[in-house]
Amino acid sequence: MVEEEKERPEEKTGISRRKFTLGVLVASVLGALGSVFTLLKVLSPGKKGGGYVTTIEPGDGLVYAKGSNAGASIQASSMKTGDAVLAYPAGKTSNPANLVQLIRIDEKDFKAPTDIALTDKGFVAYSAICTHLGCTVSWIRNDKALSASYTECFCHNSIFDPARGAKVMGGPAPIPLAQIGVKVKSNGTLVFTSGFKGPVGPQV
């Protein structure tokens, strides 16, 4: 057996067995790497439905986002100055990017850069998704001085001033919450009058 193998003349093919094996090895490793690349691509699907893409359109009514009356239209009369609620556009409540915080502020308190044209009777709305890492913001009401109330994200304590266009007053959030236009309709419910005036969700 051994002799037989020795007899097989390697020079005939011009390629030694060692070289041939090495070539096969390199080729198969390259091939395998190619398929790994494809597999990794399959394993990291692209954007489909996920992510923070808002679908609010002007004319959508505002409904409560949570609580026992979730899904019901928000009545302007139910909110006094200093109140805030989380709201969704009616019929589009399954998209978290649509969540807004509706706040009622004393109209005199609005300061730049709030877009006053997007407010109505003291109602102002901002995206409720923190621009830091995407937690939902909360309303911190100051009963002693209503104008000192503010919006806070409990995750890393970013603070936004809704009277000043949700400017970042503290914490790690990089940019203000995006404002969105609202108005009170004649029947006392609220509707959106615009899209968001800035980026929504974490700025990554």
Binding site: S44, A65, C135, P174
Partner: protein, 417 residues
């Protein structure tokens, strides 16, 4: 009789002579690694029970009249089973114990310089084990799909996505697309119950093989014993039966403590947190992620740099660069503190002022970052807290270095470490 039957086939005698009689040096701190391993055993056993009942899906199902994700519903149902809640709590408490044990074990290795030649490889394996243990806890945390776990995972998603160049792709690989989506829970489930435990098992085996090959460092007292006798053999107790008995009693004791804690102290009450809903409660991660969480609070929101092809944001700095840097420092330690000869004995930390004070500074730094997670309840401004963190770290370094130096001056340097 039975032993003979097996012995004739498997040659247990030989195995015993070769492996079971190996000497195992003793020191209380050597139990820290075992503690990590035993927690893992408990996690596997309780995890199998949970895995058989858990449903990895975010499909909405009815539970007591409300529509909730199926994963959340299945965990609530586990809690309602006889023994269900206690098993879940044992699982979660063991996870905490495992991480605590890994950290304590790592600290022990550091302060006694057991990472030195020839044990550098096992130091790296150990760091890998730590990383994968954190991954285990992280992937497990999402599974109940409560308001808390979803918020926590969402934060991690945006952190990983914020990394320039690779973040977008790696975050989609890890979370199976953008989070939240229906694909994330199945992927995390498979990672949590399959990939991660198998990786842990593999690395633990490697860790142990290397340990058996290289032998354990010995308590310094063994050196005096041996120098008087002139031998260079390990001093300790044999693996079988002594060490086995010690280990088993230790495990039973640990199990007792964990079950006791799990019985009386609730953990992650998903029923109270509720299924995902709009609105984020005041929340903090489990303690082992607190340093990262606290560090994120300290970074000002406008601290970002543009780099070609992307931007380095505060989230990247706090969530990726900061822990990555700590891991890098740990990984470099065997290269920074090298020894010319093999290290056979535990070093005395009091005799190594530089390394020990460096370690103290590191521990204080990490703990202060964890405290920063509470600046909202402590009413400290982030900038002020950042100053405290830096000050405390430098103080810990300076003071411990000064103390150790003067201690060593007084004692002279008759002992080499």
């Amino acid at each position: 009789m039975i032993f003979k039957w097996f012995n004739e086939r498997l040659e247990i005698d030989k195995f015993r002579a070769k492996f079971l009689s190996k000497t195992f040096p003793t020191h209380p701190t050597f139990l820290l690694g075992e503690m990590a391993f035993f927690s893992f055993v408990t996690l596997v056993v309780t995890g199998i029970f949970l895995g058989l009942l858990y449903e990895p899906s975010t499909k909405m199902v009815a539970l007591f009249g409300a529509m909730v994700p199926a994963s959340y519903a299945s965990v609530v149902k586990i809690d309602l089973l006889p023994m269900g809640m206690i098993i879940r709590r044992i699982h979660h408490w063991s996870a905490m114990l495992m991480i605590a044990a890994v950290l304590a074990h790592l600290t022990r290795i550091y302060f006694t310089s057991a990472y030195r030649r020839p044990r550098e490889i096992n130091w790296f394996v150990g760091l890998g084990l730590w990383g994968i243990t954190m991954l285990a806890a992280f992937t497990g945390y999402l599974l109940p799909y409560s308001q808390f776990s979803v918020t926590a995972t969402s934060i991690a998603y945006f952190i990983s996505k914020s990394v320039p160049w690779v973040g977008d792709w790696t975050s989609r690989l890890l979370f199976a697309g953008e989070f939240p989506s229906d694909a994330t829970v199945p992927r995390f489930f498979f990672m949590h119950v399959m990939l991660v435990p198998v990786a842990l098992l593999g690395l633990i085996s490697l860790h142990m093989l290397i340990l058996v090959k290289q032998k354990h460092t010995e308590p310094p007292s063994n050196r005096w014993l041996k120098e008087s006798e002139g031998g260079r053999k390990l001093i300790g107790i044999p693996v079988w039966p002594e060490q086995t008995v010690v280990s088993m009693s230790f495990y039973l004791f640990l199990l007792f403590v964990v079950v006791l804690i799990a019985t009386y102290i609730p953990l992650n009450p998903v029923e109270t947190y509720g299924p995902p809903s709009p609105g984020t409660p005041v929340m903090r991660p489990d303690w082992y992620f607190l340093p990262i969480y606290g560090f994120l609070k300290l970074i000002p929101g406008d601290l970002s740099f543009s780099v070609p092809g992307g931007k380095i944001t505060p989230e990247t700095i706090g969530g990726v660069i900061f822990p990555g840097f700590l891991a890098l420092v740990l990984a470099l330690i065997p290269f920074l503190d090298r020894a010319k000869q093999d290290q056979h004995y535990m070093a005395n930390p009091l005799r190594r002022p530089f390394m020990t004070s460096f370690g103290m500074a590191g521990i204080v730094f990490i703990c202060m970052d964890a405290v920063s997670g509470y600046i909202d309840v402590l009413h400290i401004a982030p900038a002020k807290m950042a100053v405290y963190v830096v000050f405390a770290t430098l103080a810990a370094w300076g003071v411990s270095f000064g103390l150790l130096r003067s201690y060593n001056r007084k004692r002279g340097s008759d002992v080499k470490t």
